[in-house]
């Protein structure tokens, strides 16, 4: 995935804002595509095949949460939500339906670009090609997770989350550490991001998500990878 000329789908009904975002993105060397209606968003996603989606939560036609769910059904492409309210249940709903991150309006260009860059950057480099967590095998170069012969479909973000834990199996990661490593936040950010995505990851990789063996909870501290078997 190349950062330069990465294609970004901007789904926002406010044309002025969309156009402004487009200007900012173009200055930064991205290739923006636009869609102003929720009900056309999925169609636009299929036809433009973007590297990342900027999605307004409040949209005519179909709301952002619904759009995120639909996109997640067919692809792991990073989704960043644009929201006017950070403290509502909408944000959690958006994250639960598959959005990777969110930006609160009013944001400034640097903030937006930084969020986009983090989601588009390549995974951290490791010496090992293959890592083991529990009964899972992580193919680092191929961005693949397998259990036995079956392949498990993870989004890039979920893969990166699992990889971060797997690279240092001994270490306990606090939510803040994960926010920094996986989401690129260097200051205090919303720990709900971690909570929600750990849940989504567990739903995919655990045999019994209520009794996790791969992404273990360390009470009062955070998470660590399960021991390889």
């Amino acid at each position: 995935m190349r950062t330069m000329n990465a294609r970004i789908l901007v789904v926002d009904d406010d044309t002025a804002l969309a156009e402004m975002i487009g200007i900012v993105l173009r200055t930064e060397g991205f290739d923006p595509v636009f869609c102003a209606d929720g009900s056309e968003a999925v169609e636009a996603f299929r036809s433009s095949n973007p590297d990342l989606v900027l999605l307004d939560l409040m949209l005519p036609g179909m709301d952002g949460i619904e759009v995120a769910t639909r996109i997640r059904e067919e692809s792991g492409t990073p989704i960043i939500m644009l929201t006017a309210k950070s403290d509502t249940a909408d944000v959690v709903k958006g994250l639960e339906s598959g959005a990777d991150d969110y930006v609160v309006k009013p944001f400034n260009p640097k903030e937006l670009v930084a969020r986009i860059r983090t989601r588009l950057r390549p995974s951290p480099h490791t010496s090992a090609d293959v890592l083991h967590v529990g009964d899972l095998v992580l193919d680092v170069a191929g961005h693949e997770v397998r259990r036995g012969d079956g392949k498990i479909n993870l989004t890039p973000l979920e893969f990166e989350l699992l990889l971060a834990l797997a690279i240092k199996p001994q270490q306990v990661f606090t939510r803040e550490m994960l926010l920094e490593q996986v989401w690129g936040y260097h200051y205090k950010a919303d720990t709900r991001l971690v909570n929600v995505h750990v849940q989504r990851l567990r739903a995919k990789v655990e045999h019994d998500p209520d009794n996790p063996r791969i992404v273990m909870t360390v009470r009062g501290v955070g998470y660590r990878a399960g021991t390889a078997s």
Binding site: A16, V24, K85, T88, N108
Partner: protein, 537 residues
Amino acid sequence: MRTFDWRGWLRRLVGLWRSSLQLRTVAITVLLSTFAVTIIGAYMAISVGNNLFDSRRDELLTQSAQASDTVQKLFNATAEQGAATNIENAARTAFTAVLQSSASTAGTQIAILRAPDQTGARVPNDVASPGLQPASLISTALEKRVTAAGASNDTPRVYWQSVAIRHDNVVDPGIVIGSSVTLPSSGRYQLYLIYNLSDAQQTLGSVQSTLLLGGLALIVLIGAVTWVVVRLVVGPVRVAADTAEKLAAGELERRVPERGDDELATLARSFNGMADSLQKQIVRLATLSQVQQRFVSDVSHELRTPLTTIRLAGDVLYDQRETFPPATARTAELLRTQVQRFEILLADLLEMSRYDAGAVDIDTEPTNLVRLVEDAVDSVSSLAETRGSELRVVAPGGYFEAEVEGRRIRRILQNLLGNAIDHGEGRPIDVYVDSNQSAVAIAVRDYGIGMTPAAMERVFDRFWRADPSRQRTTGGTGLGLAISLEDAALHGGWLEVWSAPGEGSCFRLTLPRERGTTLRSSPLELPPEEDRGDDDD
């Protein structure tokens, strides 16, 4: 062990006494009526006894007078006949006559004795009922009075005295009535009649026990009636109290049953009326606050989207300002700073309106306040440096964990620190943190321009600034302290100010360590004692 049980019992009784109006009313009524019935009963018993005795005595006095007359007549007749044997037997004859006359009731004892002041031969001899020892029943006082009356022929002719008659180990009340009679040939004699009054005593006893029983029955009856009456009144009151409690707990549908037209029904009706209007008000306010909340969030969204566009545009222009002619470059700069200011103002206003709508939830977790203070100090340290103020944190040990929402406390601290730096005249700023078992306090002390008492009254007012023209570095809408105050109140905490012109200001934030507890005092003085020891290092 036993005393302990006894105490517990007593405590329970006192508790019951305090809590039950019914018990208290019945107990007081019974107590008072017992008192009244006792007094009335005692009075009645005494006066009945007196009357009984008086009438019996008067009757006996009449009887005695008759007996005395009989004896006198007999004596006179005997003297006229003059026979010596008759005279010898006169006393005995008289005795028999009295015994047989109506004057004697059963158990009456009779004595005919020669008056002690008579000289000469004792003819006839003294006569007395068998078993009667005149000396033991007839006191000398009575004897003297009878004697004196005999000597002077005075009226009244009968004299009496109460006595106790002892027989067979029983003591009966009795009365001795004496009179003087004269046997013309041989001198004066005295007739004593001793009546036993035990029958009257018996009557009195039965009257008294009737009174006692009647009194007891009356008291029990009064108690029962009070119990029923109080129950009739207290019952509905209790129902009303229960309903009020349920209402207060949020069950707005609760009502008191209305029955009849009496005062209690009026109470129930007005209670229900109150509940109705209360419910209406609450529902109205709830809808109002919902509308307000929705409005706030709509405004928030509607304003934020264009503001984002303006901000992006401003920043894009600002980034390219070097390529513009100077005037345009300056415009780009102004645009950017004013958009930032607008953003802060909008955020503050939204926060304020959220408070006004009551739409604020607090999300607390145990937080180390010293860490929080250090964070806040770090975040303003570069600002402090440009103004030349040194920031010092004074935090002696203690319990520093408190259940707070970190974001809000950080916001309060940033505002207090920003204000202190703005008005601190470049002098050092001390931040004190201290705690006790129930509370944590943070005080921000500056040694800058300070405030007049009039200004102190208004610092927490919205949009109020002492000197609007003063150069500002931390925004400056005048909403900072108003929001801080709301944030503190949301935690159940206090935000107070001390200030003196030229001496600087001190803002003290006190927070309960546990959510929901009420503050009584603050661990820090206002302003805190100056700590001069730590300047050396």
